[in-house]
């Protein structure tokens, strides 16, 4: 399996492909509407020289735009998730449960929390599928 550098467009394409190819995802996410942006705060000590913004868009089981973007586009998403690199890495490796991370303030979420909680299975599935992407993390290089 090819490995991808985290937070690159190629890596996002690989992640999108995993989601789009999952029948299980399509079923779980059939009611989900709207975009989620992910902001990874800059951490030069971990080889993240600048803040990374990603925009991901989902609609009733379909996966739409999945791109590295700028701050303004990230701000335009229905849900805006923000956190330090170390936390996102833990989430991406399933070492940290996303719900727990939010409750404990390790990640921030702007948006309709009740919607996310109601659709938590969709969120978890998207993260599960990310763990299937062979990822090279910036501080592991």
């Amino acid at each position: 399996m090819e490995a991808y550098k985290a937070f690159t467009q190629e890596w996002m394409d690989a992640w999108k492909e995993k989601i789009a190819g999952s029948k299980e995802y399509r079923e779980i996410a059939k009611d989900w509407e709207g975009s989620v942006s992910i902001t990874v705060n800059a951490d030069p000590s971990k080889n993240i020289p600048q803040t990374v913004y990603m925009f991901t868009d989902y609609w009733h089981g379909d996966v739409n735009e999945f791109v590295i973007c700028d701050a303004a586009k990230a701000q335009s998403a229905k849900f805006i998730m923000t956190g330090d690199y170390a936390r996102w890495k833990q989430v991406a490796k399933k070492e940290l449960d996303a719900t727990k991370a939010l409750m404990q303030g390790k990640l921030k979420l702007k948006g309709d929390l009740t919607y996310v909680v109601r659709n938590i299975k969709t969120v978890n599935k998207v993260i599960d599928l990310l763990t299937e992407v062979d990822t090279i993390f910036p501080d592991d290089v």
Partner: protein, 392 residues
């Protein structure tokens, strides 16, 4: 797993608790001063004012009270919080004192954010968005159940969206909770029983949450001990100050427990049947708790059996070393018995709930966020419907 070698968690409970009969008047001023504040806005509701619960407190504050905001309905809304914050801002308030139940406390929590950050409350929908401590908040609860005095969650109705929004901010946890049992002696029996069972449900569900950990377990276990002993005493004699105080403390402990470990199936189902058929929250929790415990136990998982055996110990129904299976079963039976002992409603139909209601509520339950924390994974709507039917 809560006690495994890979255990890692954060326990958060920064609220100072001041307890004692009469403390709502005797301790309030010094708590305000020790927070470096001097201009208090009091948030309460008309029911509390009519019951005479806020009068002495406001009198004690003297000119430290710069205004009273009492326009808080049963279920508070964004517009209410915005109005309250504007009023408090005009008065130059530097601290918020809430006197009341869940709706009043949540209104005050929202006001604290706006007094610090400005804007409309709708801008703060989300989780952990704030980066600094908010306007200090002292809570003086007049009920014993929600635990809201020590949690950092506010539930506020958004009229425009037609739904409740959640604001979860650890920077906005109340600074002080003043627990004065004298304020709860006038609670009528049904409200005493049902709010007490809400607290019991917080404690037991925190223990069977997949987020459980030893510190929240400790809070939950002592809450269960106190509730099983003293809640019946409150029902025998509502003016028993000692019993009222112990139940109030139990509710606060249960608040810390579920504030950290979260709640599960009972709350998913209680919130859903509350939304569909307007069954009061505590009543729905009380009725559904034993049935959900029975459901959780019936898959024979050793971990669930062990937890409920510990609950049975706390309920005073078994001893350490007893057969775990029989102890766990005793916990379920004990929960039914407690309902009977305190004269709590036993069936949802007593509140007009019908088969149609529970069919709709079962759908909502499956989509409720609390269900995912439940120790037993609930995969089918029919499982929920079956529990509702038993409790109907």
């Amino acid at each position: 797993m809560a006690y495994d070698s890979d255990l890692s968690f954060v326990y958060f409970g920064p609220t100072k608790v001041v307890f004692g009969g009469g403390s709502s008047t005797s301790e309030l001023e010094s708590e305000i001063s020790s927070l470096g504040c001097s201009r208090a806005i009091v948030v309460t509701d008309q029911g509390i004012i009519k019951a005479g619960l806020s009068e002495n407190i406001i009198k004690t504050l003297g000119d430290k009270c710069v205004g009273v905001f009492s326009d808080v309905p049963q279920d508070t809304g964004i517009d209410v919080v915005n109005r309250g914050a504007a009023f408090a801002g005009e008065k130059g308030a530097d601290i918020v004192i809430s006197i009341g139940g869940g709706s009043v406390i949540d209104t005050a929590k929202g006001m604290c954010i706006l007094l610090t950050e400005g804007g409309s409350l709708a801008d703060y929908e989300g989780i952990q968005l704030l980066t600094r401590p908010q306007t200090p908040h002292i809570v003086i609860p007049t009920t014993a159940g929600t635990g809201s005095e020590v949690t950092w969650i506010a539930v506020i109705y958004d009229k425009e969206k037609g739904q409740k929004i959640l604001i979860v901010e650890s920077h906005n946890a109340p600074r002080v909770a003043i627990l004065d049992p004298q304020l709860t002696i006038g609670l009528p029996p049904l409200l005493t029983a049902s709010t007490g069972m809400d607290a019991m449900t917080h404690a037991i569900e925190a223990m069977t949450s997949i987020q459980r950990e030893p510190l929240s377990d400790a809070m939950a276990l002592h809450a269960i001990r106190l509730l099983s002993t003293w809640l019946p005493e409150c029902l025998k004699d509502g003016r028993d100050l000692k019993a009222r105080g112990q139940v109030q403390l139990a509710a606060t402990m249960a608040g810390w427990a579920f504030g950290n470990a979260l709640v599960g199936l009972v709350h998913a189902m209680a919130q859903s049947v509350g939304a569909v058929a307007r069954v009061p929250h505590g009543v729905a929790c009380g009725i559904l708790l034993p049935w959900c415990m029975d459901f959780n136990l019936s898959d024979g998982e050793p971990e669930t059996i062990a937890i409920y055996a510990t609950v049975a110990e706390a309920l005073g129904l078994s001893a350490r070393g007893d057969d775990p299976g029989s102890s766990a079963a005793a916990a379920v039976k004990g929960s039914f018995d407690l309902l009977e002992e305190i004269g709590h409603p036993m069936k949802l139909s007593e509140f007009g709930v019908t088969e149609e209601h529970i069919t709709e509520a079962a759908d909502l339950s499956m989509a409720d966020g609390a269900i995912i924390n439940n120790i037993r994974y609930v995969s089918e709507k029919d499982e929920v419907l079956d529990i509702y039917r038993r409790a109907l």
